[in-house]
Symmetry: D2
Amino acid sequence: MAESPSMWFMEFVTPSVIQQFAVKDLVYSGQSQYQNIEVMDTVSYGRCLVLDGKIQSCEADEFIYHEALVQPAMSIHPAPKRVFIAGGGEGATLREVLRHNTVEKVVMVDIDSEVSDICKRFLPDHHQGAFDDPRLELLHMDAKKYLADTNEKFDVAIIDLPEPIEGGPAYLLYTQNFYEMLKTKLSDDATFALQAGATVVGITEVYTAINNTLKAAFPVVFPYSADVPSFGGSWGFALASTTMDACKFSPEGIDRRIATRVKDSLRFYDGHAHQGLFFIPKHLREAIEKETKIITEDSPMFVWGI
Amino acid sequence: MAESPSMWFMEFVTPSVIQQFAVKDLVYSGQSQYQNIEVMDTVSYGRCLVLDGKIQSCEADEFIYHEALVQPAMSIHPAPKRVFIAGGGEGATLREVLRHNTVEKVVMVDIDSEVSDICKRFLPDHHQGAFDDPRLELLHMDAKKYLADTNEKFDVAIIDLPEPIEGGPAYLLYTQNFYEMLKTKLSDDATFALQAGATVVGITEVYTAINNTLKAAFPVVFPYSADVPSFGGSWGFALASTTMDACKFSPEGIDRRIATRVKDSLRFYDGHAHQGLFFIPKHLREAIEKETKIITEDSPMFVWGI
Amino acid sequence: MAESPSMWFMEFVTPSVIQQFAVKDLVYSGQSQYQNIEVMDTVSYGRCLVLDGKIQSCEADEFIYHEALVQPAMSIHPAPKRVFIAGGGEGATLREVLRHNTVEKVVMVDIDSEVSDICKRFLPDHHQGAFDDPRLELLHMDAKKYLADTNEKFDVAIIDLPEPIEGGPAYLLYTQNFYEMLKTKLSDDATFALQAGATVVGITEVYTAINNTLKAAFPVVFPYSADVPSFGGSWGFALASTTMDACKFSPEGIDRRIATRVKDSLRFYDGHAHQGLFFIPKHLREAIEKETKIITEDSPMFVWGI
Amino acid sequence: MAESPSMWFMEFVTPSVIQQFAVKDLVYSGQSQYQNIEVMDTVSYGRCLVLDGKIQSCEADEFIYHEALVQPAMSIHPAPKRVFIAGGGEGATLREVLRHNTVEKVVMVDIDSEVSDICKRFLPDHHQGAFDDPRLELLHMDAKKYLADTNEKFDVAIIDLPEPIEGGPAYLLYTQNFYEMLKTKLSDDATFALQAGATVVGITEVYTAINNTLKAAFPVVFPYSADVPSFGGSWGFALASTTMDACKFSPEGIDRRIATRVKDSLRFYDGHAHQGLFFIPKHLREAIEKETKIITEDSPMFVWGI
């Protein structure tokens, strides 16, 4: 009779929900200047990156998260050449951006060089060599400071950061202040996408507040959602644009752009799946409509953290 | 400092994935002729029904599961009068069916009368009085036997059963044999919906096999998926019809039908959300296309069970 | 194949050790003025009292804890008439005291009347009617204040309190200040016993500090230890006396006293078991000898608490 | 606020009791011909050996287990020269035996050479170089077969095997048949010790049956018990002898023998601790007295296994 596995990753998804994954091997465990970093091989989800005890992405379903985060923003842009990434240490967001043959330059800013180093070494199936692409400029500094000081203008910006946690490095990048500043660094028909917290019933307050805050800064905001099992369920994203033209995309147009622009086959995303992402349920749409909170530096928002 | 809750529901979602919910109260625990029955109040998901250690539905997100299961099949049917439900002991599937003012009769067959009794008593927010509706005929017997012997014809059939488990009561209702027999009890423009297992990456084999088996019995089959957090993530369904006309529904048509037919407001489902249900990701569509297995009584399929 | 239980009590014994007990029923759950109170029926340990998420005592092995706590102090006293109990809400410490037919009066002071009420109602196998004994005077107030104000003198004192936790009600009763004051309320040949924290390797600092603090207040101190499985392993106690005569007890003498004085049969304790309690391992004796900390109100000690 | 550890070892101590230890590193994980082997670094117990998901011994408290298993049998023997060990792959039982300067030869038979190899490599603090001692003859074969075929006679035999599990390699060595055969390979004043399962309330049936079975084979049997926290609590042992003289040892005699014979300092065991081991509680003594089962090859006994 098969015995139960003996090693488990345990995560408090909330103070009253735990998820546990059986672990085959703990590949790396260490503490950087900013956070605790672990890389583990799980039975169900393959190799996973864990920061401060929270699953960041797993081999088995990271394609859902990273395609959902990157491909809509890239695909509805007519010709994305210059792309900005904040965070994204695994290199998988970068990988998705670089698939588009229109891209000439990617500036990726991740504050924690150790995360990048660990991922380069231990997560080859995540980055698939993306760190070696000559179009990449990789910087290890505060993304907010970089943007404030740069003269660059970007066609697409992707914010791939851990959720806002009190005392954590990322919470200032989930504010109206940041979004306003970012907008000044975007080109006229730019798109901007970010992960925006869980869309699980009962814990959608980060999702709705982020979407509401974006609306205060951008003329067009599309909330969306995809199921990322290793995150504990349904995950939220938001797509914003500096131009109303962003509303005009069609599923067929997306499939055409993927066919002409994108290297290798996508696994999750196409014009059909695009609609599944953006046609979110009634209760989520209503919760966003009812939301009044605007996140600012003076009035920040934090997810639950143990 | 807030302490960790002390009582937890623990479920092996698979042998290598556990989910735990903090529990405030164990409302009922007992053993029927067919299964272990528990009703518990959880912190995150409210009151939950658990059969044989598996979450069946929780107060906080059962509206997603039950609207997703019932409303598409009901809404795309032009005028559903006679409805068949197999399983559905909580009464919430029944509740969703009875919302439609076209319905004249519902035959609900659940083999375990104790589950119905417990749910009537302890899950008022699930059934919301549906068991008292005069249009209901509630039978406690084998659903397969009932159908085989009946002379009734149904406009809509909903199969709301636990997943097929070896030795469990439900597995014979997930076979081509059953679907073929059921079809003979359906009217000419009937619809048929069922829950079809997890659509979580790596454990979609039940979902794809059920969809493929349905294709062997029905001219039109639509696989779909919704995120039900308390089930541990993305959950699969399938909608079949006896007529090709079922393909002609539009989001606007759904909203119109809801407006004229449906009592009280739906929380999850409308024409917009309908599209989110059916525009499933590329990898799921490909997995269904590649599937060759047809489930029969001689070649049944079982999900993992501890 | 037998399925895994679905309801579990989970306790962080330390931040890096968890114990979980399968639960059949949550009998009571509530919040008093002082603490969270739960009564649950576990599969392995029967009915358990849980305060602030920590197991206090379980039906299956409480006899070990309560006989070990009470019987040595009672049995080595030549004729215990007046007994003081601090805490002990379950009534099982009281039960053990009242077994001795020499006892004329027991003053039991538990700050939380709700704990007593809940235990009277839900833990009949713990107290076995002890609360109805006419020799009992039960007070709900601060045990320290009671002692400071009383003119009584006691032959035996038993301190049956939760471990010292920051902000908890009990920590001041684990100090030299309290022991010195208590000593003034004891008769000339009195004994004094208390639970003194885990004696598990690596977390014995409370046990050794309590024993060392007692030595600063009493002429004779005997550290001892018993295995209480539901506490997560080996548990420490200490026995002190106001007289050097306390050292003269023999196993045979204990058996004789039990035979003449004690109502009903003891399950854990006799002269033989007495020696097992007090002949503690070399590493524990050495740890106590090396200990220099004396716990005072100005320099209190706390166990780990979540 | 300190976050909860993310990696945990989880063991079903029984089907209704789980213990979890936070894990810092999974040092080794593999499958031998006989069993699954894991070596992990835990926060509370240091480096642990795990076979088939069950803790075998941990750095922090293995000294309790191994001294308790070995030192009584060695110390009460007047001059142990030839010692037999069955199992004991970690090398810590061997280490304890070799401390005695009377020992001339140790034959250690462990069926699984991979366990020995892994332990040599990864558990240096367990074996402390014992495998290099020239007095050792290490064999990898069935211990029962070795004994049956050998012409050697031993002064002391130590059985350090996993608990008897159905289908496991060890259960035949927990039978009267084996004990009878072993006795024929012992010298006239030999001692024999073995680990004998949990002595936790409610799960003592293996302990009492082993002790009762030993009584059917040896003239003198002493049951004893020590608390090994990482085993989940109180653990049972038994000491048998081929001669009634074994009853004559005194604590002072033990201390004298340790002083003259034993290399380096013991941590757990001395004459004082010896008494703590053997003066077991009344309920355990009564349970052994009441036990009637004798374990034989035809009527074997198994502990619970998942």
